[in-house]
Symmetry: C2
Amino acid sequence: MPSGEDDLIARYFKPLATAPGALGLIDDAAVLSASGDDLVLTTDAIVEGVHYLPGDPPDAIARKALRVNLSDLAAKGAEPAGFLLTLALRNVDEDFLAPFARAIGEDAESFGCPLLGGDTVSTPGPVMISITAFGRVSPGRMVRRNTLRAGHRIVVSGTIGDAALGLDLLQGAAANISEDHRAFLVGRYRVPQPRLQLAQAVRDHAGAAMDVSDGLAGDLTKMCAASGVTATIDTSAVPVSAAGRAMLARDPAKLARILGGGDDYEVLCGVDPAQLDQFLAAAQRAGVPATVIGTAEAGTAAPRWFDADRREVSLTALSFSHF
Amino acid sequence: MPSGEDDLIARYFKPLATAPGALGLIDDAAVLSASGDDLVLTTDAIVEGVHYLPGDPPDAIARKALRVNLSDLAAKGAEPAGFLLTLALRNVDEDFLAPFARAIGEDAESFGCPLLGGDTVSTPGPVMISITAFGRVSPGRMVRRNTLRAGHRIVVSGTIGDAALGLDLLQGAAANISEDHRAFLVGRYRVPQPRLQLAQAVRDHAGAAMDVSDGLAGDLTKMCAASGVTATIDTSAVPVSAAGRAMLARDPAKLARILGGGDDYEVLCGVDPAQLDQFLAAAQRAGVPATVIGTAEAGTAAPRWFDADRREVSLTALSFSHF
């Protein structure tokens, strides 16, 4: 004693478990102390070869695993409270675990979301990383996705499509763009930026929200369907990065990939027009770009997409699905 | 739309998500409403071929996946509040998913631990089921494993060793025992009985507790190490089922397997002698057998094991470890 599993935990993860509720990772459970807040629960798993490429750097994998969950908390208007980490590993690989643990510890620190506990199991198959993250909101204040109403303005944070274009580049797509643009897009695929700074603006001023993980088009469709409304989007208003615009300039057909691809981890929300100025001002104070791209409308059809000349745009590949 | 993933969730799991905090599984997150209690968090993953056998019945796999987490809640003195389910699947297999979902729904209902949300991902590798369960305790009242004190009596619930013997039988071990005994031991391996009825007794009267998942010997050693004490155990007092005794009668060497094997999912606790009568009475009222097997003592050596004649018993294979 200790066993290999206990040793792995003690070596790589115990140093990160500084929050009192983690109990130093020696217990079977962790504690989140009563706070008077509702607790927002979200869980996302990533699988080697499915959600990340076997050659991806371990620190980027760690950050992505945690950040996709933090992105959900941000979109729900919640403040991070901590996370549990489950790792399924083929073996104890120092070259993977050391940078993985260091990076997830850095992110836990910088996003204020401490490691509380987890589980480590062996698998003969691909590595799998499953994270459950917890956030706090005042009672009843979690922002939902099924509360979009006709008349709400549709707003997205940041820029859309970068990650999908970055994945294409990693998978060998040819693109006559600068090294800077290439690095930016690949970075957006590998290491999302959860919009936690936007959580308060979402909580205070958004009528509905979700994060964009399976592509803007697909996720907006889901939000409309859950809310029983439709929407009209001006694709020329959708915020695209300079690197994305460089790709678009060379191949206008990339628009479908930008709108339909996944892994954006931006916030998509519906804002009552009476709240819009306050939402945008709060986003600006938080340092997060926010752009109005359309309007929710009565109806149950799929959202409609138009170009700058008000011609309807047809999107074929709408969303990523695992099955 | 909906995608295959959404369809899978809608078909198999939405019917189970009746708790208000599950939001019908259409959101990215779930909510646990503020209650004034501390929240106990526990997570355990099981992997096909590692934690269960590929031929195991899907309903048994489902029950085991949830129950190993409920066992942790019981040992912490917590009342179940809900769980998140993450499934990594190779494909959408009706023959697996239908009985799996039905069984986990039945257990969620009977143990009062509703499905709140989760994630479903595809994997090219073995099926993996990761569950995070939540329990409530009054602030500061979670029972820990590192609070065992010299003088505490060591108590276990139920019977020990059945699951390890059952696994041996499934893996082809010869045993000249009755079909009833065989079925009992295999059932104990496949479908643990989380001791949630014992949670209140643990909360009210135990000084330290954990569940026995990696074997009594190994888990007691961990509890002693975490608490900075040692213990002396009377192996003849360790509760063994009639089926286990039948195996022991044919092969006394099975004692090491009974004490060292895993998957018991019984509660191991330390009880102050002044609380012992009340603990045992509360256990009896709860209908859970509880047996005193030894005493914690000052010291930092590994626990010592003695037979009925006070001869020391040497245990070789102490605990299951994944690596």
